[in-house]
């Protein structure tokens, strides 16, 4: 055995963080611990590398000129003055750029999207914000100056802005290429059996639940830098994205550059929440422009654009008819779901109507379900997925359960207890045919009710009412799917141990806040007997990383985590086999600890990971006979088509009956995401989703007027909650491991699914004493007062 040169020993264990709530859930030395994040030091000191931080030589700056009318014919466009302006290199209109497109702009996953989609608006505009021209100049200030010199004349036409109107009338059709505004529809009509149930059930209620338009609003707006070098034939794209490989695929499709000559680099990404999960039309325009001009072109979206012209979500209506027996057990339901796709939806209809239907029964026994789900075009901004895109099912179901409970005269908690699927009934097949297993809705309901002291609250609520104070309790109980079909089902991980015993991991993911560098390092370090500091995690460069569909759909914990774990275990096996050979011991007798492999109980008989690695790379003669040299490992994990996690959100509120203001008193979450890799990260994901849900219900509302003009175009009018508006969120954990390696399940979207239901139900519960029977979002104070006045 050759002497190995001195290498830095793997570092001493770092103290796990204890700052967050509760004790660490101790699964392993690292997995399950509140390990501090690897990402943080660079982000805390201002040394992150976000898209706008990148400066390339000769880079030009792009700025969009956008329509300020919702629907109009473009009768004249003259870019002469703009092209002559200081610093301007090009002003591109549809005539200049659209012929450059060689493939379909629709998302890679939505080949059947019937709606038209072009780079720049050609003969007409179909929503405020529709891009009409791209100005490319030496800096953004000059590009904006030049935009003011573009002369555009519109012949305005009446737009359709309301989704119900778009559905019911063909008078105004958003896309002249189509005969109506129908984007998609799926239907399973009420059959004879369900008709009989509705005719005879002791309780049949019909409620219409509305959800208004609100937006993902990541703190970092979208942005892209594209560079086309015709001499090398290389297209290089830097982008704030959740899916770097899909950017490569899309860029190749639209420019004709073959994918092996395209490199996409994702650096640090300042949030996405679904808005950056696909390649936006604007980003595609910039890539096409760079390709056409043969230059480096940078576009950074400003906040006004991000609110008006990026992606919108949540505009939905669900009409629910629910039938129950005398004790409140559900017998059947019909849901009629409508969502507003905007003018240019992405990911199919942009919504997730099929998932709304599939998940509607959630955690309850529901024998029969009929449905209709429709998506319509309107002259408004693109609809795209936003954290938990199907969450209208939980909102509608949970709101209607409360209404049913009050109709029957029982506590909404009791009604849920009577209907929740028990552990003993799993697997349970939902009415749409989807089986759910390894979930614990009843346990989370119980835990949440204990945490929030449900019985004590009812006493407090009654007492408060005597003094004219309105308190309320609301619940959002749900099951959350993590899709594993199609491109979402496979996730790779590549692990390389370097000759000095340190480890590099390569992932196809697109982390944008979830701490994937940290959780990956925890898993690898756990199984290789080293520390997270000894592991570097690489993602986002398509030249270096394996193909994957990016980060979204709450997949990173379950699917990526499983891929990393399984690859790490293969690595461990080979390392131990080499060590066993070097030590003339059995692999079963060996442990790895602090980077040193030793025979259990006899520390003197040991070899370092560096020595094993050096042997593997530089002295293969020292390896066991027949073993390949090297310590590189690569595998893909294939997920089951669906996995489920679940949670119960519960909150208490006080509503001021005079001003309509809502104060959240307590907010608790009992969640089950299986085995937690890092409880800080789990809780952080939940917290972020919860506050987005609170924001959506109480503060955030994107408003168009009747002419399709946006009224909430800055943060002065589109209101995000601040630290002063949100409560302390309390966490309880139930752990039902997944059947997948490691047992991890997803958690990223749940907060945004459960919170709206919990908050709306709490407000409704508080107002019931004032005679308010039915309540829908948005729930700003003026609307609450209007509901109170209407009930008088």
């Amino acid at each position: 055995m050759t002497e190995s040169p001195q290498r830095a020993a793997p570092s001493a264990p770092a103290a796990p963080a204890t700052g967050a709530t509760g004790a660490p859930s101790a699964i392993g030395r690292l997995v399950g611990q509140r390990v501090r994040r690897k990402e943080d030091p660079r982000l805390l000191t201002g040394h992150g590398r976000y898209l706008d931080d990148v400066v390339l030589p000769g880079m030009l700056h792009a700025h969009f000129l956008r329509s300020d009318v919702a629907r109009a014919r473009i009768t004249r466009i003259d870019t002469t003055a703009a092209r002559a302006a200081e610093g301007v290199v090009a002003v591109l209109t549809a005539a200049d750029l659209n012929p450059h497109l060689v493939g379909d702009m629709h998302g890679t996953l939505s080949p059947d999207n019937p709606g038209p989609l072009l780079p720049l608006a050609e003969h007409d505009v179909r929503h405020v914000g529709d891009p009409v021209a791209l100005i490319v100049a030496s800096n953004r200030y000059l590009a904006e100056d030049a935009a003011e010199l573009v002369e555009v004349e519109y012949e305005t036409l009446p737009p359709v802005v309301d989704m119900e109107q778009a559905l019911s009338s063909d008078d105004i059709v958003v896309h002249a290429e189509l005969s109506d505004n129908l984007c998609s529809r799926m239907e399973e009509p009420i059959d004879d059996e369900l008709r009989r149930i509705f005719d005879t059930a002791p309780y049949v209620i019909t409620e219409t639940v509305l959800q208004h338009r609100y937006l993902p609003v990541p703190m970092e707006t979208r942005g892209v830098i594209a560079v086309w070098d015709r001499h090398t034939g290389q297209l290089e794209i830097r982008i704030s994205t959740q899916s770097p490989h899909d950017v490569r695929t899309t860029a190749g499709r639209i420019t004709g550059v073959p994918e092996h000559q395209i490199r996409v680099i994702m650096g640090d990404v300042g949030g996405g929440f679904g808005q950056k999960a696909y390649v936006a039309r604007d980003e595609q325009v910039v890539i096409l422009a760079a390709h056409k001009l043969g230059r480096a072109v940078k576009w950074v979206e400003d906040r006004h654009e991000n609110l008006v012209a990026a992606t919108h979500s949540r505009t939905e209506r669900v009409t629910v008819t629910l039938a129950a027996d005398e004790s409140g057990q559900l017998l059947g339901a019909h849901i009629d779901h409508l969502d507003d796709a905007g003018a240019y939806p992405v990911m199919g209809s942009g919504g997730a109507g099929a998932f709304v239907v599939m998940m509607f029964s959630g955690p309850y026994r529901l024998p029969k379900l009929a449905y209709r789900t429709t998506s319509v075009y309107t002259n408004t901004c693109t609809r795209a997925p936003y954290r938990g895109p199907w969450q209208a099912e939980t909102l509608a179901r949970e709101q209607v359960m409360d209404v049913l409970a009050h109709r029957i005269g029982i506590d909404p908690v009791e009604l849920r207890r009577r209907n929740v699927v028990h552990r003993s009934e799993l697997p349970y097949t939902m009415p749409g045919g989807m089986p759910i297993a390894e979930v614990s809705p009843e346990e989370t309901l119980d835990q949440a009710m204990t945490m929030i002291d449900h019985p004590g609250f009812r006493v407090e609520q009654a007492r408060a009412l005597d003094t004219g104070r309105c308190l309320g309790l609301g619940i959002g109980l749900y099951i959350e799917p993590q899709p594993g079909m199609g491109p979402y089902g496979s996730e790779p991980a590549q692990i390389r141990m370097q000759p000095d015993g340190h480890v590099a991991v390569y992932l196809g993911s697109g982390s944008h806040g979830q701490g994937l560098e940290t959780t990956t390092a925890q898993i690898v370090a756990e199984h290789l007997g080293i520390e997270p500091e000894d592991v570097s995690v690489h993602q986002g460069d398509t030249d270096a990383t394996p193909y994957a569909f990016g980060t979204g759909g709450s997949r990173s914990g379950p699917i990526l985590g499983a891929a990393v774990r399984q690859t790490a275990l293969v690595a461990r096996e080979k390392i131990l086999a080499i060590a066993a050979h070097l030590l003339e011991a059995s692999p079963d007798d060996l442990d790895i600890d602090g980077g040193v492999i030793a025979v259990a109980g006899t520390p003197a008989i040991s070899v370092s990971l560096a020595q094993v690695a050096m042997t593997a790379y530089l002295n293969p003669a020292g390896l066991p006979p027949g073993m390949d040299a090297g310590l590189d490992f690569s595998s893909r994990y294939q997920a089951p088509p669906f996995m489920f996690s679940n949670a119960c959100h519960a909150c208490t509120v006080e509503v001021d009956p005079v001003t309509g203001t809502v104060t959240i008193l307590r907010y608790v979450v009992s969640e089950d995401c299986g085995v937690m890799i890092n409880p800080n990260i789990v809780e952080g994901q939940i917290d972020g989703g919860v506050v987005q849900g609170i924001g959506g219900v109480l503060y955030e509302h994107f408003v168009y007027d009747g002419d399709g003009n946006p009224l909430t175009t800055t943060f002065l009018d589109y209101l995000l909650p601040t630290a002063a508006e949100v409560p302390e969120i309390e966490h309880g954990h139930i752990e039902t491991p997944a059947m997948t390696p490691g047992g991890y399940k997803g958690v990223g979207e749940g907060g945004a699914i459960g919170a709206p239901a919990a908050v709306v139900n709490a407000v409704a519960d508080a107002l019931r004493a004032l005679g308010v029977e039915s309540l829908s979002q948005p729930l700003g104070p003026a609307r609450i007062v209007a509901a109170i006045e209407a009930a008088r």
Partner: protein, 157 residues
Amino acid sequence: MDEIDIRLSVNGEPVHGRAEARKTLADFLREDGGLTGTHLACEHGVCGACTVLLDGEAVRSCLLFAVQAEGSEVTTVEGLSPPDGTLSPVQEAFWENHGLQCGFCTPGFVVSVTAFLRRNPDPTDEEIREGLSGNLCRCTGYQGIVRAVRAAARASA
């Protein structure tokens, strides 16, 4: 283009650039100063991501023109950590308490919190939340941030 000579001190170092009067301090710091830690997330003075210290006081650098900072001392997030690469007490508290996720709002929070605790070293929870209300975050729900401020206040008590 009418450019003006601008000289200021940033994180204790002189910075000299030429820029139009309309160039914001935020853009000047990022481009002419090469300090990209200060982020732009709204450019209309609401979100706080661009917060820097101007002569020691927290301000929104998107609402200042670079030329207005002539002769002043500006501190950005890069200037808050000690030169040896370790973290300031506020930065350390954010790290310990999972006070960041995507990190884009974080420099603005770190600078704001540093200024806030200098003036109010022993705040109540309500004062903390009010003090944080000028900075927006979309990832954390503010939970880890509030914990971090409490911890930072305790640590320097």
